[in-house]
Protein backbone atom coordinates (compact mmCIF):
# COMPACT_ATOMS: atom_id res chain seq x y z
CA UNK A 1 0.00 0.00 0.00
CA UNK A 2 2.67 2.49 1.02
CA UNK A 3 4.80 1.96 -2.02
CA UNK A 4 1.99 0.49 -4.10
CA UNK A 5 -0.02 3.62 -4.74
CA UNK A 6 2.62 5.90 -6.26
CA UNK A 7 3.91 3.03 -8.34
CA UNK A 8 0.40 2.30 -9.53
CA UNK A 9 -0.16 5.95 -10.41
CA UNK A 10 3.11 6.07 -12.28
CA UNK A 11 2.40 2.87 -14.18
CA UNK A 12 -1.06 4.00 -15.21
CA UNK A 13 0.22 7.42 -16.25
CA UNK A 14 2.88 5.89 -18.46
CA UNK A 15 0.34 3.56 -20.02
CA UNK A 16 -1.94 6.53 -20.70
CA UNK A 17 0.90 8.46 -22.28
CA UNK A 18 1.64 5.48 -24.50
CA UNK A 19 -1.97 5.38 -25.65
CA UNK A 20 -1.93 9.08 -26.49
CA UNK A 21 1.30 8.63 -28.43
CA UNK A 22 -0.23 5.66 -30.22
CA UNK A 23 -3.31 7.60 -31.21
CA UNK A 24 -1.21 10.47 -32.48
CA UNK A 25 0.75 8.02 -34.59
CA UNK A 26 -2.44 6.50 -35.95
CA UNK A 27 -3.50 9.98 -36.96
CA UNK A 28 -0.17 10.56 -38.72
CA UNK A 29 -0.43 7.25 -40.56
CA UNK A 30 -3.97 8.14 -41.62
CA UNK A 31 -2.73 11.44 -43.01
CA UNK A 32 -0.24 9.67 -45.24
CA UNK A 33 -2.58 6.93 -46.33
CA UNK A 34 -4.73 9.41 -48.21
CA UNK A 35 -4.92 8.57 -51.87
CA UNK A 36 -3.75 11.23 -54.27
CA UNK A 37 -1.44 14.08 -53.59
CA UNK A 38 -1.78 16.07 -50.40
CA UNK A 39 -1.14 19.07 -52.61
CA UNK A 40 -4.59 18.62 -54.19
CA UNK A 41 -6.10 18.62 -50.76
CA UNK A 42 -4.31 21.86 -49.94
CA UNK A 43 -5.48 23.43 -53.16
CA UNK A 44 -9.01 22.17 -52.99
CA UNK A 45 -10.95 20.42 -55.74
CA UNK A 46 -11.66 23.45 -57.89
CA UNK A 47 -8.25 25.03 -58.21
CA UNK A 48 -5.75 23.91 -60.83
CA UNK A 49 -2.21 25.05 -60.16
CA UNK A 50 1.00 25.49 -62.06
CA UNK A 51 3.87 23.04 -61.40
CA UNK A 52 5.75 25.94 -59.80
CA UNK A 53 3.02 26.59 -57.29
CA UNK A 54 2.86 22.87 -56.56
CA UNK A 55 6.60 22.81 -55.83
CA UNK A 56 6.17 25.76 -53.55
CA UNK A 57 3.43 24.01 -51.60
CA UNK A 58 5.43 20.79 -51.34
CA UNK A 59 8.34 22.68 -49.88
CA UNK A 60 6.20 24.79 -47.58
CA UNK A 61 4.44 21.77 -46.08
CA UNK A 62 7.55 19.54 -46.08
CA UNK A 63 5.96 16.89 -48.29
CA UNK A 64 9.32 16.14 -49.98
CA UNK A 65 11.01 14.93 -46.78
CA UNK A 66 11.32 11.19 -45.93
CA UNK A 67 8.34 9.96 -43.95
CA UNK A 68 10.32 9.36 -40.78
CA UNK A 69 11.62 12.92 -40.84
CA UNK A 70 8.14 14.26 -41.47
CA UNK A 71 6.92 12.17 -38.51
CA UNK A 72 9.67 13.51 -36.27
CA UNK A 73 9.13 17.11 -37.30
CA UNK A 74 5.41 16.69 -36.88
CA UNK A 75 5.76 15.16 -33.40
CA UNK A 76 8.08 18.00 -32.41
CA UNK A 77 5.56 20.55 -33.61
CA UNK A 78 2.77 18.75 -31.74
CA UNK A 79 4.71 19.05 -28.50
CA UNK A 80 4.85 22.79 -28.95
CA UNK A 81 1.13 22.89 -29.64
CA UNK A 82 1.57 23.43 -33.38
CA UNK A 83 -1.19 21.37 -34.97
CA UNK A 84 -0.55 22.64 -38.48
CA UNK A 85 -2.62 24.67 -40.88
CA UNK A 86 -6.13 23.91 -42.01
CA UNK A 87 -5.86 23.30 -45.75
CA UNK A 88 -9.29 24.76 -46.33
CA UNK A 89 -9.35 27.76 -44.05
CA UNK A 90 -5.63 28.45 -44.29
CA UNK A 91 -5.57 29.16 -40.59
CA UNK A 92 -3.66 27.44 -37.78
CA UNK A 93 -5.73 24.50 -36.57
CA UNK A 94 -5.76 25.62 -32.90
CA UNK A 95 -7.28 28.90 -33.96
CA UNK A 96 -9.92 27.06 -36.01
CA UNK A 97 -10.85 24.93 -33.03
CA UNK A 98 -10.47 27.49 -30.24
CA UNK A 99 -13.73 29.28 -30.89
CA UNK A 100 -15.59 26.04 -31.38
CA UNK A 101 -14.56 24.27 -28.17
CA UNK A 102 -16.66 26.49 -25.92
CA UNK A 103 -20.09 25.72 -27.41
CA UNK A 104 -19.29 22.00 -27.68
CA UNK A 105 -18.16 21.77 -24.05
CA UNK A 106 -21.23 23.66 -22.95
CA UNK A 107 -23.43 21.26 -24.88
CA UNK A 108 -21.60 18.18 -23.62
CA UNK A 109 -21.71 19.24 -19.96
CA UNK A 110 -25.40 20.03 -20.18
CA UNK A 111 -25.98 16.61 -21.76
CA UNK A 112 -23.98 14.82 -19.06
CA UNK A 113 -26.04 16.57 -16.41
CA UNK A 114 -29.31 15.52 -18.03
CA UNK A 115 -28.10 11.97 -18.63
CA UNK A 116 -26.82 11.40 -15.09
CA UNK A 117 -29.96 12.75 -13.45
CA UNK A 118 -32.29 10.77 -15.68
CA UNK A 119 -30.25 7.58 -15.43
CA UNK A 120 -29.90 7.72 -11.64
CA UNK A 121 -33.57 8.50 -11.13
CA UNK A 122 -34.65 5.68 -13.44
CA UNK A 123 -32.28 3.16 -11.93
CA UNK A 124 -33.01 4.00 -8.30
CA UNK A 125 -36.75 3.97 -8.84
CA UNK A 126 -36.99 0.97 -11.14
CA UNK A 127 -34.32 -1.46 -9.91
CA UNK A 128 -35.77 -4.65 -8.51
CA UNK A 129 -39.40 -3.58 -8.78
CA UNK A 130 -40.80 -6.71 -10.32
CA UNK A 131 -41.15 -8.08 -13.78
CA UNK A 132 -43.60 -5.67 -15.38
CA UNK A 133 -41.82 -2.45 -14.42
CA UNK A 134 -38.50 -4.08 -15.27
CA UNK A 135 -39.65 -5.03 -18.76
CA UNK A 136 -41.09 -1.57 -19.48
CA UNK A 137 -38.03 0.29 -18.21
CA UNK A 138 -35.74 -2.09 -20.01
CA UNK A 139 -37.60 -1.52 -23.29
CA UNK A 140 -37.38 2.25 -22.84
CA UNK A 141 -33.66 2.03 -22.09
CA UNK A 142 -33.12 -0.11 -25.15
CA UNK A 143 -35.06 2.32 -27.31
CA UNK A 144 -32.90 5.15 -25.99
CA UNK A 145 -29.76 3.22 -26.86
CA UNK A 146 -31.01 2.11 -30.29
CA UNK A 147 -32.60 5.30 -31.54
CA UNK A 148 -30.52 7.21 -34.10
CA UNK A 149 -29.68 10.35 -32.21
CA UNK A 150 -29.97 12.75 -35.12
CA UNK A 151 -33.38 11.40 -35.94
CA UNK A 152 -34.56 11.90 -32.38
CA UNK A 153 -33.22 15.45 -32.62
CA UNK A 154 -35.03 16.07 -35.89
CA UNK A 155 -38.34 14.85 -34.50
CA UNK A 156 -37.92 16.84 -31.31
CA UNK A 157 -37.15 19.90 -33.40
CA UNK A 158 -40.16 19.29 -35.59
CA UNK A 159 -42.58 18.86 -32.71
CA UNK A 160 -41.28 21.21 -30.03
CA UNK A 161 -39.95 24.02 -32.18
CA UNK A 162 -41.89 23.93 -35.44
CA UNK A 163 -45.25 22.72 -34.20
CA UNK A 164 -45.45 24.02 -30.64
CA UNK A 165 -42.97 26.87 -31.08
CA UNK A 166 -41.78 26.37 -27.51
CA UNK A 167 -38.06 26.60 -28.10
CA UNK A 168 -35.85 28.31 -30.67
CA UNK A 169 -35.26 26.37 -33.86
CA UNK A 170 -31.53 26.62 -34.25
CA UNK A 171 -28.37 28.45 -33.45
CA UNK A 172 -26.70 29.46 -30.26
CA UNK A 173 -29.04 31.82 -28.47
CA UNK A 174 -28.78 31.29 -24.73
CA UNK A 175 -30.10 28.59 -22.51
CA UNK A 176 -33.37 28.02 -24.36
CA UNK A 177 -31.53 26.98 -27.50
CA UNK A 178 -29.43 24.55 -25.47
CA UNK A 179 -32.34 22.51 -24.14
CA UNK A 180 -33.21 20.40 -27.19
CA UNK A 181 -29.63 19.71 -28.30
CA UNK A 182 -28.59 18.74 -24.78
CA UNK A 183 -31.54 16.39 -24.35
CA UNK A 184 -30.88 14.86 -27.77
CA UNK A 185 -27.22 14.37 -26.97
CA UNK A 186 -28.14 12.86 -23.60
CA UNK A 187 -30.51 10.20 -24.92
CA UNK A 188 -28.13 7.32 -25.74
CA UNK A 189 -25.82 8.12 -22.82
CA UNK A 190 -28.74 8.16 -20.41
CA UNK A 191 -30.01 4.86 -21.82
CA UNK A 192 -26.67 3.13 -21.41
CA UNK A 193 -25.98 4.61 -17.97
CA UNK A 194 -29.44 3.65 -16.76
CA UNK A 195 -28.92 0.08 -17.97
CA UNK A 196 -25.58 -0.20 -16.24
CA UNK A 197 -26.60 1.46 -12.98
CA UNK A 198 -29.83 -0.51 -12.82
CA UNK A 199 -28.03 -3.78 -13.45
CA UNK A 200 -25.46 -2.81 -10.80
CA UNK A 201 -28.16 -1.91 -8.29
CA UNK A 202 -30.03 -5.12 -8.93
CA UNK A 203 -26.87 -7.11 -8.50
CA UNK A 204 -26.02 -5.29 -5.28
CA UNK A 205 -29.56 -5.68 -3.93
CA UNK A 206 -29.39 -9.42 -4.56
CA UNK A 207 -26.20 -9.77 -2.54
CA UNK A 208 -26.26 -11.11 0.99
CA UNK A 209 -25.26 -7.76 2.46
CA UNK A 210 -28.51 -6.24 1.20
CA UNK A 211 -30.45 -8.85 3.16
CA UNK A 212 -28.31 -8.09 6.20
CA UNK A 213 -29.05 -4.38 5.88
CA UNK A 214 -32.77 -5.02 5.50
CA UNK A 215 -32.68 -7.28 8.53
CA UNK A 216 -31.38 -4.34 10.56
CA UNK A 217 -34.67 -2.55 10.08
CA UNK A 218 -33.29 -0.07 7.58
CA UNK A 219 -35.55 1.65 5.06
CA UNK A 220 -35.47 0.41 1.47
CA UNK A 221 -34.60 3.89 0.21
CA UNK A 222 -31.67 4.12 2.62
CA UNK A 223 -30.46 0.71 1.51
CA UNK A 224 -30.52 1.83 -2.10
CA UNK A 225 -28.88 5.20 -1.69
CA UNK A 226 -26.42 4.50 1.10
CA UNK A 227 -25.35 0.96 0.21
CA UNK A 228 -26.34 -0.29 -3.23
CA UNK A 229 -25.67 2.90 -5.18
CA UNK A 230 -22.01 2.88 -4.22
CA UNK A 231 -21.65 -0.62 -5.56
CA UNK A 232 -23.47 0.32 -8.77
CA UNK A 233 -21.43 3.49 -9.21
CA UNK A 234 -18.23 1.64 -10.03
CA UNK A 235 -19.30 0.07 -13.34
CA UNK A 236 -20.95 3.36 -14.25
CA UNK A 237 -17.76 5.25 -13.49
CA UNK A 238 -15.88 2.93 -15.79
CA UNK A 239 -18.11 4.23 -18.57
CA UNK A 240 -16.89 7.79 -18.08
CA UNK A 241 -14.33 7.60 -20.89
CA UNK A 242 -16.79 5.97 -23.22
CA UNK A 243 -19.32 8.67 -22.32
CA UNK A 244 -16.92 11.44 -23.28
CA UNK A 245 -16.26 9.75 -26.60
CA UNK A 246 -19.88 9.18 -27.39
CA UNK A 247 -20.70 12.78 -26.47
CA UNK A 248 -18.16 14.04 -28.98
CA UNK A 249 -19.48 11.61 -31.61
CA UNK A 250 -22.97 12.72 -30.79
CA UNK A 251 -21.96 16.38 -31.00
CA UNK A 252 -21.05 15.85 -34.64
CA UNK A 253 -24.63 14.86 -35.37
CA UNK A 254 -26.45 17.09 -32.92
CA UNK A 255 -24.59 20.22 -34.01
CA UNK A 256 -25.45 19.42 -37.61
CA UNK A 257 -29.12 18.83 -36.84
CA UNK A 258 -29.53 21.95 -34.73
CA UNK A 259 -27.14 24.07 -36.81
CA UNK A 260 -25.08 24.92 -33.72
CA UNK A 261 -21.48 26.03 -33.91
CA UNK A 262 -18.97 23.60 -32.43
CA UNK A 263 -16.18 21.12 -32.93
CA UNK A 264 -18.54 18.58 -34.46
CA UNK A 265 -19.63 20.90 -37.25
CA UNK A 266 -16.02 21.80 -38.01
CA UNK A 267 -15.14 18.12 -38.11
CA UNK A 268 -17.84 17.26 -40.62
CA UNK A 269 -16.86 20.11 -42.90
CA UNK A 270 -13.25 18.99 -42.66
CA UNK A 271 -14.08 15.35 -43.38
CA UNK A 272 -16.05 16.23 -46.51
CA UNK A 273 -13.25 18.50 -47.71
CA UNK A 274 -10.52 16.00 -46.69
CA UNK A 275 -9.00 18.75 -44.54
CA UNK A 276 -6.81 16.24 -42.74
CA UNK A 277 -5.01 18.43 -40.17
CA UNK A 278 -8.33 19.52 -38.72
CA UNK A 279 -9.74 15.97 -38.69
CA UNK A 280 -6.58 14.69 -37.04
CA UNK A 281 -6.58 17.42 -34.47
CA UNK A 282 -10.15 16.66 -33.44
CA UNK A 283 -9.56 12.91 -33.39
CA UNK A 284 -6.39 13.32 -31.32
CA UNK A 285 -8.18 15.68 -28.99
CA UNK A 286 -10.92 13.13 -28.38
CA UNK A 287 -8.47 10.27 -27.92
CA UNK A 288 -6.52 12.32 -25.41
CA UNK A 289 -9.68 13.30 -23.56
CA UNK A 290 -10.76 9.66 -23.46
CA UNK A 291 -7.38 8.55 -22.14
CA UNK A 292 -7.13 11.27 -19.52
CA UNK A 293 -10.63 10.57 -18.25
CA UNK A 294 -9.90 6.85 -18.07
CA UNK A 295 -6.69 7.59 -16.20
CA UNK A 296 -8.58 9.74 -13.72
CA UNK A 297 -11.18 7.02 -13.27
CA UNK A 298 -8.47 4.42 -12.72
CA UNK A 299 -6.90 6.59 -10.07
CA UNK A 300 -10.25 7.44 -8.53
CA UNK A 301 -11.77 3.97 -8.35
CA UNK A 302 -9.44 2.68 -5.62
CA UNK A 303 -10.38 5.70 -3.53
CA UNK A 304 -14.04 4.81 -3.86
CA UNK A 305 -13.75 1.08 -3.40
CA UNK A 306 -11.72 0.14 -0.34
CA UNK A 307 -11.39 -3.41 -1.61
CA UNK A 308 -9.35 -2.18 -4.55
CA UNK A 309 -7.30 0.18 -2.45
CA UNK A 310 -4.89 -2.30 -0.98
CA UNK A 311 -2.47 -2.22 -3.83
CA UNK A 312 -4.43 -4.44 -6.12
CA UNK A 313 -4.17 -3.39 -9.73
CA UNK A 314 -7.63 -2.15 -10.51
CA UNK A 315 -7.26 -2.55 -14.21
CA UNK A 316 -6.86 -6.29 -13.93
CA UNK A 317 -9.66 -6.51 -11.40
CA UNK A 318 -12.05 -4.84 -13.76
CA UNK A 319 -10.88 -6.25 -17.06
Amino acid sequence: MRSGVPRYVLRRSIAALAVVWGSVTVAFVALHLIGGSPVDAVLGPTVSATPGLRQQIIRAYGFDQPLVVQYGVWLGKLLTGDLGYSYQLNEPVPRVLADQLGPTCQLALAAVGVAVVVALATALLAAGRGRVIGAVVSAVEMAAVSVPQFWFGLLALSVVSFRWRLLPIAGDQGVASLVLPAVTLAVPVAGTLAQVVRAGLEEALAQPFALTVRARGVRESVLRVRHALRHAALPALNLAGWTAGSLLSGAVLVETVFARPGVGRVLITAVTAQDTPVVMAVVMLSATTFTVINLLVDLLVPLLDPRLRDGRATREARA
Binding site: W151, L154, S158, V252, L253, F290
Partner: protein, 295 residues
Protein backbone atom coordinates in the same frame (compact mmCIF):
# COMPACT_ATOMS: atom_id res chain seq x y z
CA UNK B 1 -38.51 -28.44 -18.02
CA UNK B 2 -37.45 -24.89 -18.57
CA UNK B 3 -39.50 -23.86 -15.60
CA UNK B 4 -37.98 -26.06 -12.91
CA UNK B 5 -34.35 -26.09 -13.75
CA UNK B 6 -32.01 -27.95 -11.53
CA UNK B 7 -30.00 -25.66 -9.29
CA UNK B 8 -26.77 -26.69 -10.99
CA UNK B 9 -28.13 -25.55 -14.34
CA UNK B 10 -29.09 -22.24 -12.82
CA UNK B 11 -25.65 -21.89 -11.32
CA UNK B 12 -24.14 -22.62 -14.69
CA UNK B 13 -26.29 -19.97 -16.26
CA UNK B 14 -25.36 -17.45 -13.60
CA UNK B 15 -21.72 -18.32 -14.04
CA UNK B 16 -22.00 -17.94 -17.78
CA UNK B 17 -23.74 -14.62 -17.44
CA UNK B 18 -21.14 -13.42 -15.01
CA UNK B 19 -18.45 -14.41 -17.46
CA UNK B 20 -20.10 -12.51 -20.26
CA UNK B 21 -20.83 -9.52 -18.11
CA UNK B 22 -17.25 -9.33 -16.99
CA UNK B 23 -16.16 -9.63 -20.58
CA UNK B 24 -18.48 -6.97 -21.91
CA UNK B 25 -19.70 -4.75 -19.11
CA UNK B 26 -21.86 -2.64 -21.36
CA UNK B 27 -24.01 -5.57 -22.35
CA UNK B 28 -26.99 -6.19 -20.12
CA UNK B 29 -28.42 -9.64 -20.50
CA UNK B 30 -31.65 -11.44 -19.97
CA UNK B 31 -34.72 -9.26 -19.75
CA UNK B 32 -35.77 -7.52 -22.89
CA UNK B 33 -38.57 -7.42 -25.37
CA UNK B 34 -40.88 -10.35 -25.72
CA UNK B 35 -40.24 -12.87 -28.43
CA UNK B 36 -43.26 -12.55 -30.70
CA UNK B 37 -42.90 -8.92 -31.82
CA UNK B 38 -39.15 -9.38 -32.22
CA UNK B 39 -39.64 -12.41 -34.45
CA UNK B 40 -42.29 -10.52 -36.44
CA UNK B 41 -40.04 -7.52 -37.04
CA UNK B 42 -37.15 -9.71 -38.11
CA UNK B 43 -39.30 -11.74 -40.50
CA UNK B 44 -40.82 -8.68 -42.16
CA UNK B 45 -37.39 -7.03 -42.47
CA UNK B 46 -35.86 -10.09 -44.07
CA UNK B 47 -38.78 -10.34 -46.48
CA UNK B 48 -38.39 -6.67 -47.39
CA UNK B 49 -34.71 -7.21 -48.02
CA UNK B 50 -35.15 -10.31 -50.17
CA UNK B 51 -38.43 -9.71 -51.99
CA UNK B 52 -39.39 -6.04 -51.55
CA UNK B 53 -41.92 -6.17 -54.40
CA UNK B 54 -44.09 -8.54 -52.38
CA UNK B 55 -44.73 -5.87 -49.75
CA UNK B 56 -45.59 -2.86 -51.89
CA UNK B 57 -47.29 -2.24 -55.21
CA UNK B 58 -45.65 1.19 -55.75
CA UNK B 59 -42.32 1.45 -57.51
CA UNK B 60 -39.86 3.26 -55.22
CA UNK B 61 -38.78 5.78 -57.87
CA UNK B 62 -42.16 6.46 -59.44
CA UNK B 63 -42.83 10.17 -59.07
CA UNK B 64 -46.33 11.62 -59.13
CA UNK B 65 -48.13 14.89 -58.83
CA UNK B 66 -49.28 13.98 -55.34
CA UNK B 67 -46.34 15.50 -53.48
CA UNK B 68 -46.00 15.48 -49.70
CA UNK B 69 -49.29 13.72 -49.15
CA UNK B 70 -49.75 12.71 -45.47
CA UNK B 71 -50.08 9.04 -44.57
CA UNK B 72 -53.45 7.57 -45.47
CA UNK B 73 -55.15 5.21 -47.85
CA UNK B 74 -53.24 4.66 -51.05
CA UNK B 75 -49.98 5.82 -49.55
CA UNK B 76 -49.57 4.10 -46.18
CA UNK B 77 -46.66 6.30 -45.08
CA UNK B 78 -47.52 9.25 -47.34
CA UNK B 79 -45.49 10.62 -50.23
CA UNK B 80 -42.31 12.69 -50.43
CA UNK B 81 -41.55 15.97 -52.15
CA UNK B 82 -41.45 14.29 -55.58
CA UNK B 83 -44.64 12.34 -54.96
CA UNK B 84 -42.81 9.06 -54.36
CA UNK B 85 -44.39 6.55 -51.99
CA UNK B 86 -42.48 6.69 -48.66
CA UNK B 87 -43.43 3.16 -47.68
CA UNK B 88 -42.20 1.76 -50.95
CA UNK B 89 -38.92 3.66 -50.72
CA UNK B 90 -38.49 2.41 -47.17
CA UNK B 91 -39.12 -1.21 -48.16
CA UNK B 92 -36.74 -0.97 -51.09
CA UNK B 93 -34.09 0.67 -48.92
CA UNK B 94 -34.15 -2.23 -46.48
CA UNK B 95 -31.70 -4.39 -48.40
CA UNK B 96 -28.98 -1.75 -48.49
CA UNK B 97 -29.49 -0.85 -44.83
CA UNK B 98 -29.27 -4.48 -43.78
CA UNK B 99 -26.22 -5.03 -45.95
CA UNK B 100 -24.51 -2.04 -44.38
CA UNK B 101 -25.25 -3.30 -40.87
CA UNK B 102 -24.35 -6.90 -41.65
CA UNK B 103 -21.25 -6.01 -43.63
CA UNK B 104 -19.87 -3.70 -40.98
CA UNK B 105 -20.64 -6.22 -38.24
CA UNK B 106 -19.01 -9.03 -40.20
CA UNK B 107 -15.86 -7.00 -40.84
CA UNK B 108 -15.63 -5.78 -37.26
CA UNK B 109 -16.39 -9.13 -35.68
CA UNK B 110 -14.04 -11.08 -37.92
CA UNK B 111 -11.07 -8.74 -37.67
CA UNK B 112 -11.62 -8.15 -33.96
CA UNK B 113 -12.10 -11.80 -33.11
CA UNK B 114 -8.97 -12.84 -34.98
CA UNK B 115 -6.94 -10.21 -33.15
CA UNK B 116 -8.44 -11.18 -29.80
CA UNK B 117 -7.92 -14.90 -30.35
CA UNK B 118 -4.32 -14.38 -31.39
CA UNK B 119 -3.69 -12.23 -28.32
CA UNK B 120 -5.40 -14.68 -25.98
CA UNK B 121 -3.89 -17.85 -27.39
CA UNK B 122 -0.30 -16.77 -28.05
CA UNK B 123 0.04 -14.60 -24.98
CA UNK B 124 3.16 -12.72 -23.95
CA UNK B 125 4.65 -10.50 -26.66
CA UNK B 126 1.88 -11.02 -29.22
CA UNK B 127 -0.71 -10.28 -26.57
CA UNK B 128 1.17 -7.19 -25.43
CA UNK B 129 1.53 -5.69 -28.88
CA UNK B 130 -1.99 -6.49 -30.07
CA UNK B 131 -3.63 -5.27 -26.90
CA UNK B 132 -1.67 -1.99 -26.88
CA UNK B 133 -2.84 -1.41 -30.47
CA UNK B 134 -6.39 -2.24 -29.50
CA UNK B 135 -6.17 0.09 -26.56
CA UNK B 136 -5.06 2.89 -28.86
CA UNK B 137 -7.95 2.27 -31.23
CA UNK B 138 -10.36 2.04 -28.30
CA UNK B 139 -9.35 5.57 -27.38
CA UNK B 140 -11.09 6.85 -30.51
CA UNK B 141 -14.86 7.10 -30.23
CA UNK B 142 -16.38 4.74 -32.80
CA UNK B 143 -18.01 7.38 -34.95
CA UNK B 144 -14.84 9.50 -35.01
CA UNK B 145 -12.71 6.52 -35.94
CA UNK B 146 -15.15 5.80 -38.75
CA UNK B 147 -14.93 9.44 -39.82
CA UNK B 148 -11.13 9.22 -39.82
CA UNK B 149 -11.28 6.16 -42.05
CA UNK B 150 -13.72 7.91 -44.39
CA UNK B 151 -11.47 10.93 -44.57
CA UNK B 152 -8.78 8.57 -45.84
CA UNK B 153 -10.93 6.49 -48.15
CA UNK B 154 -13.48 9.04 -49.24
CA UNK B 155 -17.27 8.63 -48.95
CA UNK B 156 -19.34 5.85 -50.51
CA UNK B 157 -21.22 2.76 -49.43
CA UNK B 158 -18.30 0.32 -49.39
CA UNK B 159 -15.98 2.75 -47.64
CA UNK B 160 -18.62 3.52 -45.07
CA UNK B 161 -19.16 -0.19 -44.32
CA UNK B 162 -15.41 -0.62 -43.98
CA UNK B 163 -15.10 2.36 -41.69
CA UNK B 164 -17.90 1.29 -39.37
CA UNK B 165 -16.48 -2.23 -39.32
CA UNK B 166 -12.97 -1.13 -38.42
CA UNK B 167 -14.31 1.20 -35.77
CA UNK B 168 -16.11 -1.72 -34.13
CA UNK B 169 -13.24 -4.20 -34.30
CA UNK B 170 -11.38 -3.24 -31.09
CA UNK B 171 -14.47 -4.03 -29.00
CA UNK B 172 -14.68 -7.55 -30.39
CA UNK B 173 -10.94 -8.01 -29.95
CA UNK B 174 -11.15 -7.21 -26.26
CA UNK B 175 -14.07 -9.51 -25.64
CA UNK B 176 -12.54 -12.35 -27.66
CA UNK B 177 -9.30 -12.07 -25.72
CA UNK B 178 -11.06 -11.92 -22.37
CA UNK B 179 -13.11 -14.97 -23.26
CA UNK B 180 -10.13 -16.98 -24.44
CA UNK B 181 -8.27 -16.15 -21.25
CA UNK B 182 -11.27 -17.06 -19.11
CA UNK B 183 -11.87 -20.34 -20.90
CA UNK B 184 -8.18 -21.17 -20.95
CA UNK B 185 -8.16 -21.12 -17.17
CA UNK B 186 -11.38 -23.11 -16.83
CA UNK B 187 -11.37 -26.39 -14.99
CA UNK B 188 -12.25 -28.43 -18.06
CA UNK B 189 -9.26 -27.13 -19.99
CA UNK B 190 -7.02 -28.02 -17.08
CA UNK B 191 -8.60 -31.47 -17.04
CA UNK B 192 -7.77 -31.79 -20.74
CA UNK B 193 -4.17 -30.76 -20.09
CA UNK B 194 -3.86 -33.36 -17.37
CA UNK B 195 -5.30 -36.00 -19.69
CA UNK B 196 -2.45 -35.17 -22.06
CA UNK B 197 -4.64 -33.92 -24.89
CA UNK B 198 -2.89 -32.15 -27.73
CA UNK B 199 -2.84 -28.37 -27.66
CA UNK B 200 -4.53 -28.08 -31.03
CA UNK B 201 -7.32 -30.39 -29.88
CA UNK B 202 -7.81 -28.36 -26.71
CA UNK B 203 -7.92 -25.09 -28.63
CA UNK B 204 -10.25 -26.16 -31.42
CA UNK B 205 -12.56 -28.45 -29.47
CA UNK B 206 -12.75 -26.89 -26.04
CA UNK B 207 -11.40 -23.36 -25.91
CA UNK B 208 -12.72 -21.79 -29.10
CA UNK B 209 -16.29 -23.16 -29.03
CA UNK B 210 -16.71 -21.97 -25.46
CA UNK B 211 -15.02 -18.65 -26.07
CA UNK B 212 -16.92 -17.69 -29.20
CA UNK B 213 -20.48 -17.98 -27.87
CA UNK B 214 -20.51 -14.54 -26.26
CA UNK B 215 -19.07 -13.02 -29.41
CA UNK B 216 -22.15 -14.16 -31.28
CA UNK B 217 -24.21 -12.28 -28.74
CA UNK B 218 -21.98 -9.26 -29.01
CA UNK B 219 -22.26 -9.37 -32.80
CA UNK B 220 -26.04 -9.44 -32.62
CA UNK B 221 -26.04 -6.47 -30.29
CA UNK B 222 -23.32 -4.78 -32.33
CA UNK B 223 -25.39 -5.16 -35.49
CA UNK B 224 -27.90 -2.69 -34.11
CA UNK B 225 -25.15 -0.25 -33.29
CA UNK B 226 -23.53 -0.66 -36.71
CA UNK B 227 -26.84 0.06 -38.40
CA UNK B 228 -27.35 3.21 -36.39
CA UNK B 229 -23.77 4.36 -37.10
CA UNK B 230 -24.31 3.60 -40.78
CA UNK B 231 -27.51 5.60 -40.79
CA UNK B 232 -25.67 8.48 -39.12
CA UNK B 233 -22.93 8.50 -41.74
CA UNK B 234 -25.54 8.27 -44.50
CA UNK B 235 -27.33 11.18 -42.92
CA UNK B 236 -24.07 13.15 -42.98
CA UNK B 237 -23.85 12.41 -46.70
CA UNK B 238 -20.83 10.13 -46.37
CA UNK B 239 -22.60 6.89 -47.14
CA UNK B 240 -24.47 5.68 -50.21
CA UNK B 241 -24.40 8.32 -52.95
CA UNK B 242 -27.50 8.96 -55.03
CA UNK B 243 -29.32 7.19 -56.55
CA UNK B 244 -28.71 4.33 -54.04
CA UNK B 245 -30.86 4.76 -51.01
CA UNK B 246 -30.79 3.30 -47.55
CA UNK B 247 -32.78 4.35 -44.53
CA UNK B 248 -30.18 6.90 -43.52
CA UNK B 249 -30.28 8.75 -46.84
CA UNK B 250 -34.09 8.66 -46.85
CA UNK B 251 -34.00 10.32 -43.47
CA UNK B 252 -31.55 12.96 -44.62
CA UNK B 253 -33.62 13.70 -47.72
CA UNK B 254 -36.76 14.10 -45.67
CA UNK B 255 -35.11 16.54 -43.28
CA UNK B 256 -35.29 19.42 -45.75
CA UNK B 257 -39.08 19.26 -45.78
CA UNK B 258 -39.45 18.67 -42.07
CA UNK B 259 -41.36 21.91 -41.57
CA UNK B 260 -43.93 20.83 -44.12
CA UNK B 261 -44.08 17.07 -43.61
CA UNK B 262 -42.85 14.83 -40.79
CA UNK B 263 -43.54 11.50 -42.46
CA UNK B 264 -40.63 11.21 -44.90
CA UNK B 265 -38.31 11.62 -41.90
CA UNK B 266 -40.22 9.87 -39.14
CA UNK B 267 -40.79 6.48 -40.76
CA UNK B 268 -37.21 5.65 -41.83
CA UNK B 269 -36.02 6.61 -38.34
CA UNK B 270 -38.68 4.39 -36.80
CA UNK B 271 -37.52 1.55 -39.01
CA UNK B 272 -33.90 1.95 -37.88
CA UNK B 273 -34.89 2.12 -34.20
CA UNK B 274 -37.26 -0.82 -34.27
CA UNK B 275 -34.89 -3.05 -36.19
CA UNK B 276 -31.90 -2.13 -34.00
CA UNK B 277 -33.96 -2.84 -30.88
CA UNK B 278 -35.18 -6.16 -32.24
CA UNK B 279 -31.74 -7.40 -33.16
CA UNK B 280 -30.40 -6.27 -29.79
CA UNK B 281 -33.22 -8.11 -28.05
CA UNK B 282 -32.45 -11.20 -30.09
CA UNK B 283 -28.81 -10.96 -29.09
CA UNK B 284 -29.67 -10.66 -25.44
CA UNK B 285 -32.03 -13.58 -25.65
CA UNK B 286 -29.17 -15.60 -27.13
CA UNK B 287 -26.88 -14.37 -24.38
CA UNK B 288 -29.39 -15.35 -21.74
CA UNK B 289 -29.98 -18.85 -23.00
CA UNK B 290 -27.40 -20.57 -25.15
CA UNK B 291 -24.13 -19.62 -23.65
CA UNK B 292 -22.47 -21.88 -21.15
CA UNK B 293 -25.40 -24.19 -20.85
CA UNK B 294 -24.96 -25.46 -24.35
CA UNK B 295 -28.48 -26.64 -24.98
Amino acid sequence: MTCRRMPSARQALTAARKAIRSACPRLPLGSGLSTVPVALVLTVTLLAAVRPELLTQHAPDATSAQTLRPPGSGHLFGTDELGRDVFSRLVHGTRLSLLIGAGATAIGATVGTLIGLAAGLFGNAVDGVLMRCTEVLMAFPELLLALLVITVTGPGTANMVLSVGIAGAPGYARVARARVLAVRGAGFVEAGLVLGLRRRHLVTRHILPNALGPLLVLAAVGFGGAMVSGAALSYLGLGPQPPSTDWGTLLADGQEYLQLAWWPTAFPGCAVTVLAMSVTALGRRLGGSIIGVGR
